[in-house]
Symmetry: C2
Subunit: 258 residues, 2 copies
């Protein structure tokens, strides 16, 4: 059973894992390992043992690798002789990267994490993968203390969830960034757009997004599209507007033909 | 005071205006005018007078033009000798298109409307514009029976709200369409992405979207971007992915420089 946990990494995701684990009775964070000499400020409230290098004296049931994708392989090399489960938490890295470890897995929470955003962890979908059945049982038992939304998925499926997550989260957020910039530079009030954002999302939970599509590109209304693009030139949004409009036109055209 | 209303148009927006007005005591829809010979099915439950042409015998306090942008000018020509207020409800058409009418205005609800989506009308932002002070008072009094969220905005501001509304609603919806197509063609479960969509939106109401931005493009992580694009080729999403990623890179690069 997983009780003692080591955490490698001090970013947003590490912060939220510490937060999740701290709330569960019977789980203990042995230590946290980061690159800085001292533990970053945001983590001080947890009163954890902190180290700036991976020590061989670590004895945990689970080693969570919570660093950028590029560094996962390196970290793994330092953990390969341990008996505990070594797990990375990345959407786009194959489980095979950990294959030199004795016991390994993936714990991927399909969510966006910021330091200053509070989350209901029990609703986060956790996509898990394990090197064998015993690890599978242990990861399942561990994560079920945090969330009720668990699924075992292979590396390819996880990668697809990750990419669609990038499209939905990163890209939607960027559309809001651009809209906020346009509204702000005209001294208008972004709050008028909140009910529209909420309805946009609410609708796609009731009907398919394809059915919910409206607007000039859906109608292939070239006059309105060009009028909008002409206006948007000064905000450096024209390429973005054209690319998404083209994609809407293509998608709906193909769909209508079927 | 506006009591008797004529409605020109039988689309989604007309449907919702009929729904809104029907709920208010003291307001009456005199008639609805559409292109079809008979009233469309969705409207039958309201038991309205229906006409397939604009009759000169109409006597209403308010004529709501709820047709596609391209037809507003034509409809207006048929209403120019009336004493009631003639109002269009479009985000992108200037109020000047109605200037031959005696009394005119604009009633623009900043929201997305579908036949099968129920809305809390009292929260919809209504952006109003009026030909003179008397019309302004009348429109304000009329819409305040429907929504608590009213603002008088000129045609340029309304156009900017409309464009940002297109970016936020139409474009976000399209990102969800593409994600749903990718998930579906791999027999995966789109429900795993709902908590992420909800958190994406919730976050931007707490912190600015620029602060909330995460992901490979934010980090200018070219290796991950190319890996994603390579995978997305078969879904015809690569151009879209590249355009939005480029825009994120440009936006964050410029912002970091400031």
């Amino acid at each position: 059973m997983i009780k003692e946990i080591s955490i490698v990494g001090t970013g947003n995701l590490a912060y939220h894992f510490v937060e999740m684990i701290s709330r569960v009775d019977g789980l203990n964070i042995n230590e946290i390992i980061g690159r800085q000499e001292k533990i970053p400020k945001a983590f001080r409230k947890f009163e954890l043992n902190y180290s700036s290098k991976i020590s061989n004296t670590l004895k945990s049931d689970l080693y969570l690798i919570l660093v950028s994708d590029d560094y996962i392989k390196d970290i793994c090399c330092n953990l390969k002789n341990l008996n505990g489960i070594v797990s990375h938490c990345s959407g786009s890295i194959d489980i095979e990267v950990l294959k030199e470890c004795n016991n390994y897995g993936v714990i991927y929470p399909l969510q966006t994490f910021s330091m200053n955003s509070k989350l209901d962890y029990s609703k986060i979908p956790f996509l898990l993968e394990a090197s064998d059945k015993e690890v599978k049982n242990q990861l399942n038992e561990f994560i079920s203390k945090i969330s009720k939304n668990i699924s075992f998925e292979n590396s390819e499926s996880r990668f697809i969830y990750h990419i669609t997550g990038v499209i939905i989260n990163n890209f939607t957020n960027h559309l809001i960034v651009k809209s906020q910039q346009i509204i702000k530079s005209n001294n208008l009030n972004f709050e008028f757009l909140h009910p529209l954002i909420e309805e946009t999302i609410k609708k796609t939970e009731l009907i398919s997004a394809l059915e919910a599509q409206t607007g000039p590109a859906k109608r292939n209304d070239k006059i309105t599209i060009e009028k909008h693009i002409d206006y948007l030139k000064k905000y450096d949004v024209e390429k973005l507007y054209r690319a998404i409009s083209d994609s809407i036109i293509n998608t709906n055209f193909v769909e209508d033909e079927l």
